[in-house]
C-alpha cells in the first residue's frame, strides 16, 4: 500500500498533465501542462528509486526542453492566440499509431521479465557509482559518439543561424572594417 498511493497520485498527475497539454486552448498553458507531465514522470522515477534517471529527467525535460518550448512560443507567437482544439483528419491515424506504440511497449515489458518482481535483479549497492562506471567503461564509445553527434548538431545549428543573418547587413561598417 505504501508504495502504491504515491504512485497513483503521481500517475494521475502525469496523465492529467498530458491530457491538459492536449486539450487546453492557450499554447503557453499547454506547454506548462506538458511540464507538469514531465515533472510527474521524474517524480515517478524518483519514487521507483531511480535517482539519477529522475533527476536527469527533471534537469533535461523541465530545465531544458520545457524552457526551449516556452522560448519558442515567446519568440514566435507572443502566445496570446487561442487555437481551437481541432480534430484533424490525421486524428484516427494518430490514435492507431499511439495504440501500436503502446502495444510494442507492453510486449517489450511483458517479455523482458520485468513485470514479474522475482525476475528483477537487485540494485547495486551504489547505483550512482555503478552508473558512472558503466558509462565510462563499458559504454564509453557510444557515449562519446553521442557527444560528437550533439556537438555536430550544435555547430550545424549555429551555422544555419549565421547564414540567415548575412544577407541582411551585406555592407555594414563593422564587417567591412579590416
Amino acid at each position: 500500500m505504501r508504495t502504491t498511493v504515491p504512485f497513483l497520485i503521481l500517475a494521475v498527475l502525469t496523465l492529467a498533465g498530458g491530457v491538459a497539454a492536449m486539450t487546453l486552448r492557450r499554447l503557453v498553458h499547454c506547454a506548462l501542462a506538458l511540464t507538469v507531465s514531465f515533472a510527474g514522470l521524474a517524480a515517478l522515477y524518483l519514487n521507483l528509486g531511480a535517482e539519477f534517471a529522475g533527476l536527469a529527467q527533471l534537469l533535461v525535460y523541465v530545465g531544458a526542453i520545457a524552457i526551449l518550448i516556452v522560448f519558442a512560443i515567446l519568440l514566435t507567437r507572443g502566445g496570446d492566440d487561442k487555437a481551437e482544439p481541432s480534430f484533424s483528419p490525421a486524428g484516427p491515424a494518430g490514435a492507431v499509431l499511439a495504440l501500436a506504440v503502446f502495444a510494442v511497449l507492453a510486449w517489450a515489458v511483458e517479455t523482458s521479465g520485468l513485470a514479474h518482481p522475482a525476475a528483477i535483479p537487485a540494485a547495486p549497492p551504489e547505483p550512482m557509482r555503478a552508473l558512472g562506471f558503466a558509462l565510462m567503461q563499458r559504454y564509453v564509445l557510444p557515449l562519446e559518439v553521442i557527444g560528437l553527434m550533439l556537438t555536430a548538431a550544435m555547430i550545424g545549428a549555429v551555422i544555419l543561424a549565421l547564414r540567415e543573418k548575412r544577407p541582411q547587413t551585406p555592407e555594414s561598417p563593422r564587417s567591412a572594417a579590416p
Binding site: V28, E51, L58
Partner: protein
C-alpha cells in the same frame, strides 16, 4: 529510531530533533521528523533573509557614504520587520488582462523551488535534510524549476517589460548554468561522488592540521571564483541584474506584482542566493568543516553560517561596486570567457588527480610540482583569453539601427 546522539554543541540541533521524534507516538514519528526539518529550514533561512536585507541596505549605504536605514529601532535593526509589515498589508493588484492562474502560481513555484534546493545542503555535521546520492544533480534539477517560474511570472503579467525581463532572465540563467555546472563537475570528478555530504566529508580530512578544502588547490580556487561569478549571474544579482534592470525595464518579470507576492519574489531571489552560496561552500569551502584542525571545536553549523555570511557580504560588496552589464557583454562573458575557463579548470582538476603525490621521493617537492602545473594550466589560458578578448575589442561609436 536509533539512540540519541550525544548532546554536544556540535550536534545540538540533531539531538533536539531526535529527542522530539523519540517522544512522539510511533505512527507520527516520520511526520514529526519531516516537519522538524522543514520548519527549521524555513525559519532559519527566512530570518537569514531578513538579516541580509538589513545588512545589504546598511552596507550599500556605507559604501555610498550614507547611513542606511536607521529609524526603526536602535540603529534601524527592526527595519526588516517594518518592511515585512508593509509588504503584507499592501494591496495585492492583479492586472485585468493577466492570466490569473499562472500569475498566482508563479511566485509560489519560485519560492517552493528555492526552498527545495536546501534539501541537499549539509548545513552542519549530520545536518543534511535529505542525504541524496545525487545531491548536486538534485540541486541543479530543482534550479530548473525557478527558470520556469520566472517565465510564468513574466508571461502571465501581460506586460511587455515583464516579458522582456523574463526573456532576459531565462537567457541569462541558461547561459550561466553551463559554467556553474561545469565548475562543480571538477569537484565531482575529484571527490568521486555526487552526494553533498560525501563531498564535505572528503574535504573535512586534514593533513598537518590543514583541511583538504578544494579552494586550497589551484583548480579549486579558480573553480570557486568562476562558480561564484556564475552564481551571481544565475541569481540575477548585480552586476548581472539585467532581468530586473530598474532603469530599463523597471523591475523585469515581477513588475506587475505587488504586496505579498512581490515580497515572495524578493524572498525567492535571496533564498536562491543563499542556496547557491551554500552549494559553493559545500563544493569548494569545505561545507561545515573548519579550515584548520585547532578550530574544529567551533560547532559545524556555526562554520557553515559564518562562511555563508562572508559570501553574502561579498555579494553585497560586489553589488555596491560594479555597474550593470550590457546584454551583449553578458553573453560574451558567459560564452567566450566563463565557458573556456571552466573547461580548463576541469582539465586542471584532471591533471591534479593523476599527478603523483611524491616526486623523487619527496612529498613537498611533489606538492610544489602539482601546484605549479595545475596553476599554470589555469593561469596560462586566463592570460591568453584576457589578452585576446581585449585585443579584439575596438572602441567605436555605437550605431543605433532602430533609434534614428
Amino acid at each position: 529510531m536509533t539512540a540519541l546522539p550525544a548532546p554536544t554543541a556540535d550536534q545540538i540541533w540533531v539531538w533536539i530533533k531526535a529527542w522530539l521524534v523519540i517522544h512522539t507516538p510511533a505512527p507520527f514519528q516520520a511526520l514529526v521528523s519531516i516537519v522538524c526539518i522543514v520548519a527549521a529550514i524555513i525559519v532559519v533561512f527566512a530570518s537569514l533573509f531578513a538579516l541580509t536585507v538589513l545588512l545589504e541596505r546598511k552596507g550599500l549605504g556605507r559604501i555610498q557614504n550614507r547611513y542606511g536605514p536607521n529609524r526603526v529601532g536602535p540603529c534601524g535593526i527592526l527595519q526588516p520587520i517594518a518592511d515585512a509589515v508593509k509588504s503584507l498589508t499592501k494591496e495585492d493588484i492583479v492586472p485585468r488582462s493577466a492570466d490569473h492562474v499562472v500569475h498566482y502560481l508563479a511566485p509560489l513555484v519560485l519560492v517552493a523551488a528555492s526552498f527545495l534546493a536546501y534539501a541537499v545542503l549539509p548545513i552542519g555535521r549530520n545536518m543534511t535534510a535529505v542525504n541524496l546520492d545525487a545531491g548536486v544533480l538534485f540541486f541543479f534539477a530543482i534550479g530548473a524549476a525557478s527558470e520556469l517560474a520566472v517565465f510564468m511570472a513574466g508571461w502571465s503579467s501581460r506586460n511587455k517589460y515583464s516579458l522582456l525581463g523574463a526573456m532576459r532572465a531565462i537567457a541569462q540563467m541558461v547561459s550561466y548554468e553551463v559554467p556553474l555546472i561545469l565548475s562543480s563537475i571538477a569537484v565531482v570528478m575529484i571527490a568521486g561522488t555526487l552526494s553533498t555530504s560525501a563531498i564535505v566529508h572528503e574535504q573535512a580530512r586534514t593533513t598537518h592540521g590543514i583541511a583538504h578544502w578544494y579552494a586550497f588547490t589551484p583548480w579549486g580556487l579558480a573553480g570557486f571564483i568562476l562558480f561564484m561569478i556564475a552564481a551571481t549571474a544565475v541569481t540575477n544579482r548585480s552586476p548581472f541584474d539585467l532581468p530586473e534592470g530598474e532603469s530599463e525595464i523597471i523591475a523585469g518579470y515581477f513588475i506587475e506584482y505587488s504586496g505579498f507576492k512581490f515580497a515572495l519574489f524578493f524572498l525567492a531571489e535571496y533564498l536562491e542566493m543563499f542556496a547557491v552560496s551554500g552549494l559553493g561552500i559545500t563544493l569548494f569551502l569545505g561545507g561545515w568543516s573548519s579550515p584548520v584542525s585547532f578550530l574544529a571545536w567551533i560547532p559545524s553549523w556555526i562554520w557553515f553560517f559564518a562562511k555563508l555570511l562572508v559570501l553574502i557580504c561579498c555579494f553585497i560588496w560586489v553589488r555596491g561596486t560594479l555597474p550593470r552589464l550590457r546584454m551583449d557583454q553578458l553573453m560574451n562573458f558567459a560564452w567566450k570567457f566563463m565557458l573556456p575557463m571552466t573547461l580548463f579548470v576541469i582539465l586542471s582538476a584532471g591533471i591534479w588527480r593523476f599527478l603523483p603525490v611524491t616526486v623523487a621521493g619527496s612529498a613537498a617537492l611533489g606538492a610544489v610540482v602539482r601546484w605549479l602545473v595545475c596553476a599554470l594550466v589555469v593561469l596560462l589560458p586566463y592570460g591568453t583569453l584576457a589578452r585576446t578578448l581585449e585585443s579584439g575589442r575596438k572602441i567605436e561609436k555605437r550605431e543605433y539601427r532602430f533609434a534614428d
